[in-house]
Symmetry: C2
Subunit: 340 residues, 2 copies
């Protein structure tokens, strides 16, 4: 077997709610898991030195890239972009722009990350707007859903671009020759979607995408479809709704197993099974959304991610970089999308 | 205590996938639970006679209203409306129009039910479009969500009307003096919704509704909000997504408890707790959506409802009729909405 080429990942070590310690812990997990990864840790030199004295990373497999500012969760995209040019987020993205890293991972403010990535890296030719894509769990396999909130109002052409990007990404990452792509629509018999959805359906049917038609919200979690395409408003509501319901269900389960001392005893007996169950719906395993359509891999981690969750986001960056997803999307767009 | 006035509920006994037997079984449950209810069973006379010989309903508490046709799940709204004027669905709705019943319950085709209800009963003055409203489970209490699929494209004024209807219904049914109303929006920091949402927020803030601001999809299942307002596309996706996830979670739980013989033994021990848990997420307990904004109560049951689920939908009809929700909505609309 040939050794895979080294892949360098830039990490915004200062954003996110959990602090740089967590980022360094996650970095250790990734370096232990992947031999071919090198990390660029963008952050405050002193802070990182302290963290690295606690969690020691293998020498020569990381470099600290100094930054002096931090984008906060409350900073507007405009403030982050114009007034914090030396933020850890900006410095990490710059590494990708300068060809020093293939990907950037950040647990910071989504709006700022999208704005800076778009400004610094630019979108692929043929792509109007980057989209946010992420996997959600399913029976059997998982499903990629995009857009999850970057684009509130989308035309049919945008939805087609999302489909091309989602299909290419899923194909590369999951080794699927022709991922099944569905358009998210509503099932009420009276109305089958708005004009934009119907027009997008025609564009998808005419493309070489493996388009399987309209899917409803519940099918995201089925094994009928690999990529679900929707506008960012609908996608974000679907994502947040499913997160809320998962939390409610865990809450109910916990409540029932704590209702009285008999139930608490039963919970002790059932602990290993309940643990196995919880690990399957553990949101940390699904942490990490890709900002696709850019000239480079950018992964957004949940702001409150712990080391396990952040490492998951980093792993997505490693996989997409190793598979060279942006290049594949660029090629696919050139072949498929009409020149507008 | 004064005896409540008799409330008559018209039931479409022929639509739905499970057959008239299930409707008659559900009818028995309702008549046993509520002393003040009288039922009008709209359906084929012979079919109903057979069902009533199996499940005997208390005499004098029901009347069979003959119909000769059935609206199928595949019938378009136009076909159902124009070519099946003697369908069980139409006959049941006619009972409300003619003042013989306060409410109609049907497990039939949503599009047909909405179209016929709107045509026969008409909307309340000041309401442009009826909406579909339903409760979803929450931590502590449940949450009303509308619209769930009747209206794909909505203006800010429509969203305001939905808010007025949802607030009035929740107030009457739950005995809440001022239900907390939220507008469903997305949480991505970059974008806080489209123009229509922002405009609706201004209208709601200026109304006397207890408007608490934007809520995200996950908050539907929290105890922060009593009524969540959104357009029918987004609402339908949120509903279906949560149904899909609930099913996936049950699937995972079942899989883990059946993984091997040790787990199967543990499942036996944990059975009572698991049963209590399942009953809390049992979708049958949430069966029944109201078509609000009409001059009469119309409740849509899931097509595949069993007797427990259909009885739940009937119970919603009983409660909304007893509380006279359409009248309250009519009064509230006159007070609150600007004359357009």
């Amino acid at each position: 077997m040939t050794k895979p080429e080294t892949v360098t990942i830039a990490v915004d070590a200062m954003s996110g709610d959990a602090g740089a310690n967590v980022i360094v812990e996650a970095s250790l997990q990734i370096l232990q898991k992947f031999d071919h990864v090198h990390l660029l840790l963008a952050g405050d030199v002193d802070t990182l030195a302290r963290c690295l004295s606690v969690t020691q990373l293998p020498e020569k497999r990381y470099t600290v890239v100094p930054s002096t500012e931090v984008v906060t969760m409350d900073d507007s995209a405009a403030i982050a972009m114009r007034q914090k040019k030396n933020s850890s987020m900006r410095v990490a993205i710059n590494q990708v722009k300068e060809g020093k890293a293939a990907a950037c991972v950040s647990a910071g403010n989504t709006g700022a990350l999208m704005a800076i990535s778009r400004f610094v890296l630019k979108t692929m030719p043929g792509i109007d707007r980057p989209a946010i894509i992420k996997t959600l769990p399913g029976i059997g396999s998982h499903t990629y859903v995009l857009d999850l909130g970057a684009n509130v109002d989308c035309t049919a052409e945008h939805l087609l671009q999302f489909a091309v990007m989602g299909s290419t990404l899923a194909s590369a990452v999951e080794d699927l020759p022709a991922p099944r792509v569905g358009l998210l629509n509503i099932g009420s018999e009276d109305i089958k979607g708005n004009e934009q959805i119907k027009q997008a359906a025609r564009l998808l049917a005419d493309s070489d995408i493996n388009y399987i038609g309209f899917v409803e919200g519940n099918e995201i979690f089925s094994d009928h479809v690999d990529v679900v395409v929707c506008d960012g408003f609908v996608g974000n509501v679907a994502l947040k709704t499913s997160e809320g319901l998962a939390k409610l269900v865990s809450h109910y389960l916990r409540e029932e197993f704590r209702r009285n001392w008999v139930n608490k005893l039963i919970a002790l007996v059932a602990m290993p099974v309940l643990k196995a169950f919880r690990s399957r719906i553990d949101p940390r395993k699904y942490n990490g959304a890709s900002l696709v359509g850019l000239k480079g891999v950018v992964i957004k981690s949940h702001g409150g991610a712990d080391a396990v969750a952040f490492a998951n986001a980093m792993e997505i960056a490693v996989i997409e970089s190793t598979k060279n997803v942006p290049l594949l999307i660029g090629e696919r767009v050139q072949q498929q999308l009409p020149v507008v």
